[in-house]
């Protein structure tokens, strides 16, 4: 069991979601996050003073999947989430110990 955290552009969300659906992944959790990274936020002004918005809004997708599916999921996110310009985001893969479906109590492979 692995957990994939993908931090993607807001504008690529629908492409990534569809790419995931195409390989059978329909379950994930989405979070609105602020990204600090190479792509600086827009220059912001308010009442004559600059405030470098050093972050930009991003989406984080958490996907839990069997280890065997990780490679495919990563590929799907990579191709659908990529624009080639700075700021495309990151994918992180974690090991997961147990996954439980609250409704049924099923564990691990059955739970995701």
């Amino acid at each position: 069991m692995k957990k994939i955290e993908a931090i993607i552009r807001v504008t690529q969300f629908e492409a990534v979601r569809d790419a995931l659906a195409a390989i059978g992944v329909q379950f994930f959790t989405l979070k609105e996050v602020r990204g600090y990274g190479l792509q600086k936020g827009q220059r912001l002004m308010y009442r004559g003073a600059n405030h470098g918005a050093d972050f930009i809004a991003r989406l984080q997708m958490d996907i839990v999947a069997e280890s065997g599916m990780v490679e495919g999921i990563v590929k799907a996110i990579e191709s659908a989430g990529k624009t080639g310009k700075i700021g495309d985001g990151k994918i992180f893969v974690f090991d997961i110990e147990t996954a439980i479906r609250i409704r049924t109590g099923e564990r691990n492979e059955e739970a995701v």
Binding site: T11, Q42, R43, L44, M45, Y46
Partner: protein, 413 residues
């Protein structure tokens, strides 16, 4: 001699009351600009809210200043009697400076006339701003708005209210279903044709709705518009005539109420949903619909007119969506479709002598529509070819607030 004094005092008193009403009506029409600003802000996405507020704040300023500079004298140029009354210009600036007005000169002063009319002038541009929202560039839009309120609106207005050729042929448009509302709607139509829909609205899988970010703002807008409409229609009586103004208040309110009910049932039957945005548009549709004949309709007429306007709203919204003409706030459905309907309704329900015949009404609708649409299309087209009209994809995705202004409408969330 003393008798004359009393009569003069009485006439002066009537003049004071008439004039006061025109001024209060002007203030009420002013608040419609807040109504438009909040309605449009509520119906756009969160990322484009500041941009729409900015445009609406500038439009009222531009509208007042250009009307002072040239609009007033273009719209009321004093056509020679029996002239065809197509175009004339009485010169730049305001002409009245010193002598006081009194009862003898009519029901209101020069300044009251100016300020009441000036508050109307910017309305057309405000209607456009909603329809082209979320994708038009700021400065090109402001340029268009300036030309539109300075030139196009006063010219077509002069045809009827300035005593021009449409007035001569018996075209009837009491407070501007066509002269104000359709005019805004036609320009909006030109804009959305040239701009194209917002990214992602019309997809292969069908229409993807892009819900407005705040229904409370939209509702505030519609109630304020209704409130302001008491001045818009009531003030168009151009005096405080008790019978007429009170009739106008009654027909205006009943049409708005019927518009809500019409849109309620129609949108329920069409979509099986109780859609607040439709009911709000329905109220506005009823208001626009009654505007052409608010002073000559019975309560029953005004309820029917409003009801039909309300029914037209969901139909028109669906139609424009089918045509892939993307209008985030429904301005074309409300102001263009119901504006035409209201102008036609005068021919159906109205019975003022020698005015408002079908021929006159249709001529007015077509002539003003054609002129306005062409004017708007050409101006937008030239701007598109030169400065560009639409923000780039990335800016549209990120929102115009950050893109055009470097600011957000909401902070610290």
């Amino acid at each position: 001699m003393q008798t004359n004094e009393a009569l003069d005092a009485a006439m002066q008193s009537q003049f004071m009351t008439n004039n006061l009403w025109i001024l209060i009506a002007a203030a009420l029409v002013f608040i419609m600009h807040l109504g438009f600003a909040t309605l449009e802000a509520g119906f756009v996405q969160r990322k484009n809210v500041l941009n729409i507020l900015f445009k609406n704040s500038m439009i009222i300023a531009i509208g007042l200043l250009t009307y002072c500079l040239c609009g007033f004298n273009l719209m009321y140029p004093g056509f020679a009697e029996d002239s065809s009354g197509f175009f004339a210009f009485a010169g730049f600036g305001l002409s009245h400076t010193t002598e006081a007005y009194s009862a003898a000169d009519g029901t209101y002063t020069y300044w009251s006339d100016f300020i009441f009319q000036a508050m109307f002038a910017a309305t057309g541009a405000t209607i456009v701003s909603g329809a082209v929202a979320e994708r038009i560039k700021l400065v090109p839009f402001l340029l268009f708005a300036t030309l539109f309120v300075a030139i196009s609106y006063p010219i077509t207005g002069a045809w009827k209210w300035g005593g021009g050729w449409l007035d001569a042929m018996g075209f009837y448009d009491f407070a501007g279903s066509t002269i104000v509302h359709s005019v805004g709607g036609w320009a909006a139509l030109a804009g959305i044709i040239l701009l194209g829909p917002r990214a992602g609205k019309y997809t292969d899988q069908g229409i993807k709705p892009i819900p407005g970010h705040s229904m409370p703002l939209a509702a505030i807008g519609v109630f304020l518009l209704w409130f302001g409409w008491f001045g818009f229609n009531g003030g168009s009586v151009l005096s405080a005539d008790p019978e007429l103004v009170s009739l106008v208040f009654t027909t205006t309110s009943l049409a708005a109420a019927a518009g809500a009910v019409g849109a309620f049932f129609t949108s329920y039957f069409m979509f099986r949903s109780y859609d607040l945005s439709m009911v709000l548009n329905g109220i506005l549709g009823g208001l626009v619909g009654i505007t052409a004949g608010a002073d000559i309709m019975s309560p029953t007429d005004s309820i029917i007119i409003g009801l039909i306007a309300g029914i037209l709203i969901p139909l028109a919204v669906t139609m424009f969506d089918k045509l892939k003409l993307d209008d985030p706030v429904g301005a074309t459905s409300v102001h263009l479709v119901c504006g035409i309907w209201g102008t036609l309704a005068v021919a159906i329900f109205g019975d003022c002598d020698g005015c408002g015949s079908f021929v006159a009404q249709i001529t007015g609708i077509l002539a003003i529509g054609a002129f306005t649409f062409l004017f708007a299309f050409i101006v937008f087209y030239i701007i598109k070819a030169t400065m560009g009209l639409r923000v780039d994809e990335e800016e549209e995705a990120r929102g115009l607030d950050i893109g055009e202004h470097g600011m957000s409408a909401y902070n610290q969330f």
